[in-house]
Symmetry: C2
Subunit: 273 residues, 2 copies
């Protein structure tokens, strides 16, 4: 049994609660020596759902402290949630007041919902970009004129999830091209790929990790052999160097970090949806 | 020309800046009558990058007000960024102090990085879930025992992007099954699908919107005809009703909202990565 203190953290929102959860996650990563249990309470937008949320908060076992990150805008609903007790944190109220006072603006409550579909153009961009990523996955389509970027890498180096993340979050049209044994032998990428040199970004990975990933997929195959993985990774990195293609080692990097670094390297300053 | 005030908002972070951008986006949606220009300044983690970020902030055209959302932890780097001027907002400092004071905890700065790869198990879960979504897309694989959920819907109702979002964000294994003309005619789903009734969730969509989406894909086809879309949507909803499958209209709903509502309906309380 852990001797740690225990805390239940609630993310309460009239929308998806993604913002509340993102803020809360940032806060709790700063503390050690305490066990956090997290509970999302999204779409709290009428008295009934607010009362249900308050009941959940009120029923926390008594050996837990309670932390309530509340981004609900409606004042009556906020009161219902606050009646349940716990330490109440509103990430926005004070910041909004500072913006009002310093920039001479008045907020217009209820205008914006961060993760609602306020802008259907950007929604369509994301869907279209996701379809693009799927139809240009794994080199199946080398018609790259419409692509915003083209990810390169040996098989299982993390290209597909990164392309999908960039599409879903930034509406970027991300294609990917798997570097083949033929390419490695010739130490050259196909002309159709090199024609888009300013869109290329390479991924690389620790060969031990690569061998492990490939072994889960095809146990005891030549494809998964450490020696084969080492040779592929080393040759792929050589191709990146020779062609001055920016690249990144994904081994200890999250999809979010990889995506952020690619956008910097290729100067793609897209908004997060 | 807009007569609005203008404001440049900077998201400064030692990591991906996703948290800063999420917070900033929530703030600026509350204001009208002002045009915001946003700029992400991620991976500010040494004096050199901090000075470069400060220079960018300092060089904002003079008719813009400046708002700096700064989540950099290191004090020296914070000072460099703050030297550039503008209204400085730190979303976390005050909240962290309240948690320290109320829960009797001390923060351990530099421990957590929200979107770094602190937990490689969850990273692997996400990648595995993404691969699962791709290999169980569009009914290509009806081996659904491993699935956490199965999305149903007629062609182009939004199944694939939602499955990929759930996989990338929550590590959920989301399969999808496109309801076919045969299913609609028989008013029945295949036995392999119905065997997982408690994992099923239906999507539906406005037939006019569906016809528009399909027309972009296959102009002047029977597939895109409004009458055909109306019949398909109406029959699919009938199947959901008859089988008591929870469902949602995606027409005016963002991927984030759809995902949030599916997790509530199927009682999948997964953490956001």
């Amino acid at each position: 049994m852990s001797e740690n203190k225990r805390c239940a953290i609630f993310y309460v929102s009239d929308g998806t609660a993604i913002t509340a959860e993102t803020v809360g996650r940032s806060l709790i990563t700063q503390f050690t020596g305490i066990d956090f249990i997290e509970k999302r309470l999204p779409f709290i937008n009428d008295v009934e759902t607010a009362q249900a949320a308050a009941a959940i908060i009120r029923n926390t076992p008594s050996d837990f402290q309670q932390l309530v990150i509340n981004t609900v805008v409606d004042l009556e609903l906020r009161k219902i949630i606050h009646s349940a007790g716990g330490l109440k944190l509103d990430p926005f109220n004070r910041l909004l007041r500072r913006i009002e006072n310093n920039l001479g603006l008045k907020r217009d409550p209820g205008v914006g919902r961060t993760h609602g579909m306020s802008d259907s153009t950007s929604y369509n961009d994301r869907i279209e970009a996701t379809n693009f990523a799927l139809s240009h996955d794994d080199g199946v389509n080398l018609n790259l004129h419409q692509a915003d970027l083209v990810l390169l890498g040996v098989s299982r180096s993390g290209k597909t999830p990164t392309c999908l993340y960039l599409a879903l979050h930034y509406g970027l049209k991300a294609a990917n091209y798997p570097i083949t044994d033929d390419d490695l032998e010739r130490m050259r990428l196909p002309a159709d790929v090199m024609a888009h040199k300013n869109k290329l970004f390479g991924l690389t990975i620790d060969p031990f990790r690569l061998s492990q990933i490939r072994s889960e997929r095809r146990p005891n195959s030549r494809y998964a052999e450490l020696r084969k993985c080492q040779a592929e990774v080393s040759d792929a990195e050589m191709i990146y160097h020779r062609n001055q293609i920016p690249f990144l080692n994904t081994t200890l990097t999250s999809i979010e970090e990889i995506s952020g670094k690619i956008m910097i390297a290729l100067d793609l300053n897209k908004k997060l949806y």
